[in-house]
Amino acid sequence: MKAWAILVSAGLSLGAVLPARAVAIQQITSPGGISAWLVEDHTNPIIAMSVSISGGAALDPPDKTGLANLVTDLLDEGAGDLDSQAYQGKLNDLSIGLDFSVGHDSMVIGLKTLAENRETAFGLLGLALAKPRFDPDAIDRVRSQELSALAQELASPRSIAARALAALLFPGHAYGRPADGDPESVKSITRDDLVMWAGHHIGRDALVVSVVGDVTPDQLKPLLDAAFAGLPQHVDPIDIPDVAPQGAGKVDVIRKPFAQSVAAIAEAGVKRADPDWYAAYVMNYVLGGGGFSSRLMTEVRVKRGLAYDTESFLVPRDHAGLIEASVATRNDRVVDSLAVVKQEWVRLAENGVTKAELSSAKKYLNGSFPLELSSTEALAGLLNVIQRDHLGIDYLERRHKLIDGVTVADVRRVARRLLRVADMTTVVVGDPRGM
């Protein structure tokens, strides 16, 4: 067992030292060979586990989009000897939170339990992963729920825009297809498809496990085996190609009778391992990631009253990176909002950020980091992302230096590289005038 004591002292960069808090990450391995990171915290009688399983919706066959999503929906709908109601009843009766979700790159599982129920909780997860039943009535029910949810998405201009944008950016690639599928594909998924997917893409070599809370290493080891040792050793090779976003310069208007148009904008960004990641991260904070301190918010909302919400964000996928922005404005002023967004794109690309902006960004990005540690679940999720992105077990200790190391020149370089107005892909959903 290797234990690392890490001080999260994000306030250092402010010149004032926060009360340092030790987050000791232990790297443990169970007798059955399951590895996990553990942070013991006996403050409350709660255990939270975050698990990711590499793969995800990108593995769906093109004509079966939504398959991984349906699998994740069904894992807790009956397993082993327990049918759906029996399984759900055990979770509900003990207030065990078990949540499965799937993105393009991975399936993510959140487990939260009172410490006294830990054996049942981890055992139920083990059953769901190794022996899902996929009972026909559960499949029908969950399929109906998915179809209803897909229909409901059509009432949301944001959802419509996000789906259309992905299709423009990644034609022919899994990232261009929606993780929750479309009605036709969801209707076509069979029980065999579900069994096949689960059997080939859930395995021990794809697991990333993080645990936080009221549990000791010796208590946790058999729990890990109960949850994961029953899985096959290997998943099928993940063979998703890297892809560069397409659709440069395209503007697509999807005309719908909404009172306010929603615009979604994207172009090539950076992946998490990119050497310019931290510069891009700081740049995005200044551009549109920093809430009320961001340039987009200042120019679009505060000065002009053109939107309630506008933001930009980085999307680092395993096989592509994006920078995205969104803005929602009354139909007769969308053109103006988009012009302001573009103007800020150009201004940052041409002039970079000021020293004061850089300093503010660093103060926030470092100073706010301890807020991420404020609940058992939040910390478990954070540790999982650190593992999954290969940031290193000492990342919490190094993070503030990585951010502090970003210079005005770094931001200017990455802004020039990323913020290319001519390459923007734009989708507007609503009834915009003048477009």
Partner: protein, 503 residues
């Protein structure tokens, strides 16, 4: 930057809107170790953590909390949780949309927005910037009964946010040039939450139909025609009338104790003067005599929904002896996949894809007991409604079993530990309770009061509340083919010329 759970504050319809619209906002971005997705939603009208279910809202006895009151009337609660060197600091003002004068619907929320627009010594926008530069984040929200402002920040920066918060309570000095664009921002918010959301529109209509005389008749964000007419003078007068230490509750949760908090609060809030406060009037509802039924058709609806509200007592108004029993009843009927409605209508009869019952007793006036259901593809909404009515009749006629009650209570007890684990839950729970006239002891005793609930009182409460004549049923449907979209988007006022010159 926001609480984990975005939740309802009034009705199940709101939940539908929330799940459909807000949850999706994150755009699938990963957790924020990378800090990628930060939804800036100042003034999130309905973003109240913890009231997702009654269970989480009032998790209690296990909070490590102490309270005190300053000489000027400010109530203060410290909720200790040393997990991380951070705090959540929140000020609740005992004023909400239900305190607005006729013709000024939405003004409390407009004031909330303007609280970020500068004081005599802090420039417009600087509040949030100073919080951010200190590594914190902040937001605010308005409901029927209260307006709240919060910050999450490292505990050593708490003095700075308390200083800023005390300053804007008394020294707010917004300018016309900042009001004009913010007025437009609020109208954009109205478009986003209501006009762009069929569920949001139905929710407004249902509440207006439910509350015949209570000031919950008008929506928190206000009716457009009145919101459009606001002036800066309206804002200043309303803020001056209601914002005072003797009308506020400060709760700080996290790495703090009352002993450490008290000198800070004395220093920053102690010197603020009391104000003479208006009466908070929550007019009585007349006895409801007629079941009401509303149909909203909208071209953007592709998935219909069925919604039902019953006028119900709160902790403060009506037969409040039922307030705990109704929380247990909501748990039995529709809190999760083992609840009655899910088992019967989703699993067995296969009529609904989603079904939910809920009840929120933290209200100064009457409140509602709510149902929401989404039909399976191809299921007629009337058939679904009839099946839900059959379930409601069944519970009224035959009551619930003691096994169901015990199961619900066990689950509610377990949730207490989870609520205690979150940084915000203590602050939001005490703030909400104190803002609607409850006490610290009320919150702390919640587990015992839930434990004391019997099948008899639950059955009595069900009979008292789930009465047809006290109900409003709302259905959300697509526009009929060839039908014109509902009006409501035309007739907007011309926008002032704001920042026309793009740099």
């Amino acid at each position: 930057m926001l609480p984990e759970c975005w939740a309802r504050f009034v009705s199940s319809v709101r939940i539908a809107a929330t799940r459909a619209d807000l949850y999706k906002d994150a755009g699938g971005a990963p957790p924020s170790v990378t800090g990628i997705s930060m939804t800036a939603s100042r003034a999130a009208l309905i973003a109240i953590c913890l009231v997702l279910t009654p269970v989480a809202s009032a998790s209690a006895q296990m909070f490590d909390a102490q309270s005190f009151t300053l000489a000027n009337g400010l109530q203060v609660v410290a909720v200790t949780n040393h997990r991380a060197p951070v705090v959540n600091s929140i000020v609740y003002y005992k004023v909400g949309s239900a305190d607005e004068e006729p013709g000024k619907s939405g003004l409390a929320h407009m004031v909330e927005h303007m609280m970020f627009k500068g004081t005599k010594t802090v420039a417009p926008g600087m509040f949030s910037r100073l919080v951010a530069d200190n590594g914190g984040n902040d937001d605010a929200f308005t409901t029927y009964d209260y307006t709240a402002f919060y910050q999450n920040i490292a505990v050593d920066r708490l003095p700075e946010v308390l200083r800023l918060e005390a300053d804007r309570m008394i020294n707010l000095a917004p300018r016309e040039k900042d009001f004009t664009p913010e007025h437009q921002v609020v109208l954009e918010e109205l478009r986003m939450r209501i006009e762009n959301s069929p569920a949001g529109k139905l929710n407004e209509q249902m509440n207006a139909a439910l509350y015949l005389n209570a000031p919950y008749h008008h929506p928190v964000i206000g009716w457009r025609s009145e919101v459009e007419q606001f002036t800066l003078a309206d804002v200043v007068a309303f803020q001056h009338r209601w914002y005072a230490p003797n009308n506020a509750v400060l709760v700080v949760s996290g790495d703090i104790t009352a002993d450490r908090l008290k000198p800070l609060v004395e220093k920053y809030f102690g010197p603020l003067p009391r104000r003479k406060l208006p009466v908070r009037l929550r007019t009585d509802e007349p006895p409801p005599l007629a079941a009401r039924s509303l149909v909203l058709r909208d071209p953007n609806v592709h998935q219909p929904s069925w919604n039902r509200l019953y006028l119900a007592p709160s902790y403060a108004k009506g037969d409040s002896k039922y307030a705990y029993a109704l929380q247990v009843l909501a748990e039995v009927l529709g809190a999760d996949s083992s609840s009655r409605l899910y088992r019967h209508l989703v699993v067995e009869q296969k009529l609904a894809s989603e079904i939910w019952a809920g009840y929120e007793p933290e209200s100064l006036g009457m409140t509602s007991f709510d149902f929401y259901a989404s039909p399976n593809p191809g299921v007629d909404l009337d058939k679904l409604g009839a099946a839900i009515d059959a379930e409601i009749h069944d519970v009224v006629d035959k009551g619930v079993t003691s096994e169901e009650i015990e199961r619900a209570k066990t689950k509610m007890r377990a949730e207490v530990a989870y609520a205690r684990d979150s940084l915000q839950s203590g602050a939001f729970t005490f703030g909400t309770a104190l803002a609607v006239g409850r006490t610290v002891a009320d919150v702390q005793d919640w587990p015992q009061r839930v434990a004391a609930v019997t099948p008899d009182i639950v059955n009595e409460a069900a009979r008292a509340v789930l009465r047809e004549q006290a109900s409003v049923t709302g259905t959300l449907l697509p526009t009929r083919p060839g039908e014109e979209p509902a009006a409501g988007q035309g007739g907007e006022q011309p926008i002032p010329e704001l920042g026309k010159s793009l740099r």
